[in-house]
């Protein structure tokens, strides 16, 4: 038997350049990205750029935090300003960067390709969901400049603090988060409908790329949990504006009820941030290791398990809120259980890489670093799930270290990996590998330098959300701040790369990675209708390393699998 090679296949005749929206009178070229486009690819990139802008803003806010924390006294900004900065940092990073990018950017761009559709199920809803984000973000930022300043109660907005700090900033925060939650829900509805209803004829659920399953699970979480946050914040706003007493003990209310309602959303929120990243890494690893994804069926069941369990573990954020012992017992056990499907996925990724022909490019470097970072973050998570341990480290820097390992070391690393992987598809040009490796090195070292010491700080009692701390914590805080500086610097090679490569990068061709998923079986960038002619039916999206005569080529034409970009 002979192995298929690229020279066996001819480059297909492609393609019309992206012609803008289907209505004819749409703006052309880059102006499309500032318009109310209905094209999922345009919307996806709108989410991407908008998300990255908010990432830089959130990063600048982090820079303020780490500059303040480089010394034990509050000498850089006032304490109130520090509170506003940390609140905005968390809120911006979660609602304006991670959730929009892993769901809205990659989801909207890729899902129609993966199900074999020309667009999402509801293109207008898609555009509305995106265009809610810039105004909501601007509204949130504007709260910093008003009398009384921005909200100061953290992204968690616990009463009574959120009821006693300046009201206008808090109300603006609530409105902004309600808009962003609405955007997220609209997106979730769109993904569920697209994945379940718009699949190309002949394409079965268990033949879909894993990212589809991840987005389906994520969207179910979005639809079930985000509305509860919306309701809670509406009640909180009533307390602030109308002086009702839902969460105000002085008026007969209950602060713990707020926490339950808040965390009912906010725990699934962390899966909303990480599950799509799991899906993306499941797409990236097989391509660059030239091996099928290991354990497809188990990966699907793991996603389902994470979705179900993710809805019943929220009170592990409340072990020190006076929750009764029986409640803490239940949530400790359920939270420990959720480590199992996550661990299964982790080992499946390792098995995917095992004995693969791994190309050491920027995409795979970030993906492998994700695996390392996520293991640490996951293990500290299992530790935090145990009540006796959590009682000591709750609200300390141990928790801050844990979740940054998951969200930054996990999801953000995957976002970078995904950018290096899909940029050629989005733009038709390759990113520069030298700058990519510099970006990777600075990010990986800077990130670990910043967040690893925080575990020690937390174990030794440094609380979170403070501008001043005991002087014995100074050295490690300074190390952490140097790491943060390195992370800030690491953005530069990335930014230069992304901008310059759009004009001067090597032409990518249709399929520079020789990948098998449907988005690579069309031009880079794709035409407005995604493919010229019928959508390809890809029954084996992970058919790598399989000899040509054993690969099911009946449905996928040979010309479509390989295209030779160089003449």
């Amino acid at each position: 038997m002979t192995l298929a090679s690229p020279s066996d296949f001819q480059a297909p005749q492609q393609s019309s350049p992206d012609q803008g929206g289907p209505r004819g009178l749409q703006p052309e070229g880059w102006l499309r990205y500032l318009s109310f486009s209905l094209d999922h690819k345009v919307i996806g990139l709108q989410y991407m750029v908008c998300g990255f802008l908010f990432y830089f803003l959130g990063g600048a806010l982090a820079g303020v935090i780490r500059t303040e924390l480089a010394s034990p006294i509050s000498d850089f900004v006032s304490r109130e300003t520090y509170n506003e900065v940390l609140t905005l940092h968390g809120t911006v990073m979660i609602f304006l960067w991670i959730v929009p990018v892993v769901n809205g950017a990659f989801g909207n761009y890729l899902i129609p390709f993966y199900v074999g559709a020309r667009d999402m199920a509801f293109p207008r809803l898609n555009a509305v969901a995106f265009w809610l984000i810039p105004p909501a973000g601007i509204l949130l930022i504007s709260s910093y400049f008003i009398k009384g300043g921005a909200a100061q109660s953290g992204w968690t907005a616990y009463p009574p603090l959120s009821l006693t700090t300046p009201a206008l900033g808090q109300v603006i925060w609530i409105i902004s988060v309600l808009l962003l939650g609405g955007s997220s829900i609209f997106g979730g509805i769109n993904f569920i409908a697209t994945i379940l209803k718009l699949r190309r004829p002949g394409l079965k659920m268990m033949q879909l790329p894993m990212y589809c399953w991840a987005m389906l699970g994520t969207s179910i979480l979005v639809v079930l949990s985000t509305p509860v946050l919306a309701g809670t914040l509406i009640l909180l706003s009533f307390d602030i504006i109308a002086h009702t007493g839902f969460f105000n003990p002085a008026l007969g209310g209950n602060v713990v009820v707020y926490q339950h309602l808040f965390w009912f959303y906010s725990h699934p929120a962390v899966y909303i941030m990480v599950l799509p990243a799991f899906g993306l890494v499941s797409e990236i690893l097989p391509v660059h290791a030239r091996k099928p994804l290991f354990g497809y069926t188990t990966m699907v069941y793991s996603i389902i398990a994470i979705v179900v369990l993710g809805l019943v573990v929220w009170a592990h954020h409340m072990f020190t809120s006076g929750t009764p012992p029986w409640m803490r017992l239940f949530f400790t056990i359920a939270t420990s259980f959720i480590a199992v499907p996550t661990g299964i996925k982790f080992f499946n990724w390792l098995a995917t890489l095992w004995q693969g022909k791994i190309a050491l490019n920027s995409a795979i470097l970030f993906a492998c670093a994700f695996i390392v970072n996520f293991v640490f973050g996951g293990i500290t998570g299992v530790a935090l799930a145990q009540v006796p341990f959590d009682i000591h480290v709750h609200d300390t820097y141990f928790v801050v270290g844990h979740f940054h390992y998951i969200v930054y070391g996990g999801t953000v690393f995957i976002i970078f990996s995904a950018v290096y992987h899909w940029y050629p598809k989005f733009t038709g040009r390759m990113l520069d590998e030298h700058l990519g490796r510099l970006h990777f090195l600075l990010t990986f070292i800077g990130f670990n330098l910043c967040f690893a010491p925080q575990h020690w700080l937390g174990l030794n009692g440094m609380p979170r959300r403070v501008a001043e701390y005991d002087p014995s914590f100074t050295t490690l805080n300074q190390v952490s701040s140097v790491g943060a500086l390195m992370m800030a610097v690491s953005t530069l090679p990335f930014l230069i790369n992304v901008v310059v490569s759009a004009f001067r990068g090597e032409v990518a061709g249709d399929n520079p990675w020789k990948a098998l998923t449907p988005e690579w079986l069309t031009s880079s960038p794709p035409p407005v209708e995604n493919w010229i002619g019928e959508a390809p039916l890809v029954t084996h999206p992970y058919g790598y390393g399989v000899p040509a005569d054993r690969l099911d080529l009946q449905m996928v034409t040979a010309e479509q699998i390989w295209s030779d970009p160089k003449p």
């Binding site: 079930l224 509860v228 009702t244 002619g533």
Partner: protein, 211 residues
């Protein structure tokens, strides 16, 4: 074998394929893909239901855990809310009649049932207003009062939106309108929403008034 040559580069064709204008094409062939709009609405109603679920959970927890002040109680007058419940349940049946009328081509019957449904909805809202005026407590009096107004108010907002939708559907079922037997989505969507609002009310009535 799939073909790589373009069947047509005609943008109007592509526009028709993805059915962006959304003119109610139910058949899969016509839009190029299945009509997922009712499914999308159902998913949205799950989300909306979860908002109410959060409110219900809060209310039940408050009842279990937070004592009311001395001079207040959970007792409510039952007559008006019970009549309101009957009105709303009836309106779901009348809306269903309207839908049947549309699909059978009986435009006049359909429109009459729509008017009756809207009238029942308005009567429900009027009943709520009367009840609000006659209640002995205000929004901020105590936790039960606040939750009562928040829950019934949020529901009332949904009923109001529903009545507006019924009136829009009534307008679009005129002979020159966009809703017809071959394109019933507008009415079906409004009907599903209305049944949802009715269902929420039944839960609300049960836990606020009967419990």
């Amino acid at each position: 074998m799939t073909s790589l040559t373009s069947e047509t580069g005609d943008l109007a064709q592509i526009s028709g394929e993805v059915d962006i204008a959304g003119q109610g094409h139910g058949e899969p062939e016509h839009g190029g893909h299945a009509d997922a709009r009712l499914f999308g609405l159902a998913t949205f109603l799950v989300a909306d239901g979860m908002t109410f679920a959060g409110f219900f959970a809060a209310y039940l927890t408050f009842r279990a855990v937070n004592p009311l002040p001395e001079n207040s109680s959970y007792e409510l007058e039952l007559l008006l809310p019970s009549i309101n419940t009957l009105l709303l349940v009836l309106s779901s049946f009348t809306f269903h009649r309207a839908g049947r009328g549309l699909l059978r081509g009986e435009g006049l019957a359909c429109r009459r049932w729509l008017v009756i449904t809207a009238a029942l909805g308005l009567a429900f809202l009027a009943g709520q207003m009367v009840e609000y005026f006659n209640l002995p407590f205000g929004l901020t009096d105590n936790l039960f009062a606040s939750t009562f107004y928040a829950l019934t108010g949020f529901h009332g907002l949904h009923v109001t939106l529903g009545v507006i939708c019924i009136l829009i559907v009534w307008w679009q079922t005129r002979s020159a309108g966009r809703i017809k037997a071959s394109a019933p989505f507008g009415l079906e969507a409004a009907e599903l929403y209305w049944h949802f609002v009715d269902g929420i009310w039944l839960v609300l009535y049960g836990i606020l008034y009967l419990l």
